[in-house]
Amino acid sequence: MTSTDVPGDVPSAYVRDKRTPPPSREELRARIPGWGADLDPADRPSYPRLQYPADTGARWDFPVRQPGSEGRERSIEHAFVTPVFGTAQPLAGLSGVIRRYAYARFSEGRLAHWMLLVVGDRVDAWEHHLRSFVSLRPDVPATGLRTEFTRGAVRSRRGRSDVRHQLLDPVVVLGPWVAGVGGAVLGVRKLVRAVRG
């Protein structure tokens, strides 16, 4: 049976070749700026995946070590604290204890490592929120909301399917704050009752 014998309503997936050939090179070059400029796969920047030795500009075999690595948390899959590292926001407070335990106890291959880091993130946030409440710049549940009134919020969302889950954002954002305030009120009430006997 030749391709001309295939009924017209049989799609490409069921026969030997695509039934509609792609446009010609000439047609594509006329329509698309630069079409085919990287046509040769062997001449693309990321081919081959491993390019040894890469010309990186490094004049060292192993970098000079940045000072201050003592006590810095690291993945236990590393042999040591890497010679260069970020020094932003060092571990502190209860969140720091949780994070340090996550790094010291669990490898990156263990879900507990990441879950503890997420817990550390939430504790870190509340440590800072509580501190902010006694400052001149208290935290709020969400920022940037002024743009809901200045950047066409209704127009921008009209007809979009993601509005369904965006409706959950206030719950996600406000939920922990409502729970926090509720818990604080109940705690204070219980304390007052205990004191009154």
């Binding site: 050939p21 000079v64 743009t147």
Partner: protein, 382 residues
């Protein structure tokens, strides 16, 4: 100096911080002249990336002027205008020596599974980022490149990640002449991936999204056909119909961990955080590509597992290719393409915000208000 500061999920503000110091002999301090918010910054903003600490300054897309250099820096001088790849990398470890700059082993003590990235949590090394007036740039002789005189600043800043990632994503697709390429996501990465697919010989490029301004941009900027997934009950079926029931030869996943398109995945992944984000686009890629085809993943995912249809990838005999982009490896060729007008990175830019208004910029970008595709941040604007 003034800097963007993370205060918890959905909360950021601008604060005074100390100007960063030289901490290693090959460091430079760069005064940021232009920065951008990346779609992947929204994963941090929404609290999806483990070990994102309060006080962290985001920003891995920035250009600037060298303000100070460490004693071992030879290739940069104070006053040089530089563009900085989003990767922090040493240039000498086993991985860098083979061109895998995004997988550098010498810059991120917090994890071995990811290299160093500016302003992207402690999981990527704990470096404050460029959404600020100054930033510390390690390995100044390895990472930054002087901005060519002819290059527009907005092209340069988009080339530090989004454009390079789109171009890299098309390469990961191993596109052969005449291939049908589907690009999932018409954000900055997807738009450049679509443009790049043509350069590599695609015969057809189809971009999938649901935001009208982005689909329009895919048609005008990337000369692509478009599919609005909101118009279909099941966009995978439509992808099959559009490709004569074969599936696409190549699918480029340019969305990442907060994909829309499936309510359950969105709620469990990005709202309740019961998995590492919403892998809808990744599953559409696996479903929409043809058997024996290639899925290129350049959308950003974190270390927490996702509900991905791996069995279908196995049974279809797919090639899955992915990585964070080794940016500097892309630049020499990309510079030619930009100069020739074959790639047009700054066309993705839609909004420009002063640093002081960055909280508004994040909300606009996160909620996709006002047709926002790519917001830039101007550190010194009043």
């Amino acid at each position: 100096m003034r800097a963007m500061v993370y205060r918890g999920p959905y909360k950021i503000r601008v604060e005074d911080k100390d100007v960063p110091a030289i901490e290693h002999p090959n460091d430079a301090i760069v005064r940021v002249t232009l920065a951008a918010i990346c779609g992947s910054d929204l994963h941090l903003y929404h609290g999806l990336m483990p070990d994102t600490r309060i006080g962290h300054t985001f920003g891995h897309e920035f250009i600037g002027v060298v303000e100070k250099v460490g004693p071992s820096v030879e290739d940069l001088q104070v006053g040089d205008r530089v563009m900085v790849p989003f990767n922090v990398f040493c240039g000498s470890c086993w991985f860098c020596a083979r061109g895998l700059y995004s997988n550098c082993h010498n810059v991120n003590p917090n994890a071995t599974a990811v290299g160093g990235i500016y302003g992207y949590s402690h999981t990527t090394g704990g470096y404050d980022g460029g959404q600020s007036q100054y930033v510390r740039v390690p390995f100044a002789d390895v990472g930054p490149t002087k901005i060519p005189d002819w290059m527009h600043d907005e092209d340069a800043v988009v080339l530090t990640d989004a454009a390079a990632t789109g171009y890299f994503g098309a390469q990961l697709g191993e596109i052969a002449e005449g291939d049908t390429v589907v690009v999932l996501g018409a954000g900055p990465v997807g738009l450049i991936a679509a443009q790049s697919s043509w350069l590599m010989g695609a015969g057809r490029v189809i971009v999938v999204d649901h935001l009208q301004e982005r689909l329009e941009k895919a048609r005008t900027m990337a000369h692509a056909e478009t599919l609005d997934y909101d118009e279909y009950d099941d966009v995978v079926v439509e992808m099959k119909k559009q490709t004569d029931y074969l599936g696409a030869d190549v699918v480029i996943e340019a969305v990442g961990a907060e994909a829309d398109g499936n309510f359950l995945q969105q709620v469990t992944g990005t709202k309740l955080k019961l998995q590492g984000g919403s892998p809808v686009a990744l599953n559409w890629a696996i479903d929409g590509v043809r058997k024996g085809g290639t899925v290129s993943v350049v959308g950003a995912y974190g270390p927490i597992p996702n509900a991905v249809k791996f069995g279908d990838a196995l049974n279809k005999g797919l090639t899955l290719r992915m990585n964070q982009t080794p940016v500097k490896r892309q630049w020499p060729r990309m510079f030619e393409h930009v100069r020739n007008g074959h790639l047009t990175p700054r066309e993705v830019v839609t909004h420009r915000f002063p640093l002081e208004d960055i909280a508004e910029a994040y909300h606009v970008f996160s909620s996709k208000l006002d047709g926002c595709i790519k917001p830039l941040i101007l550190p010194d604007a009043a």
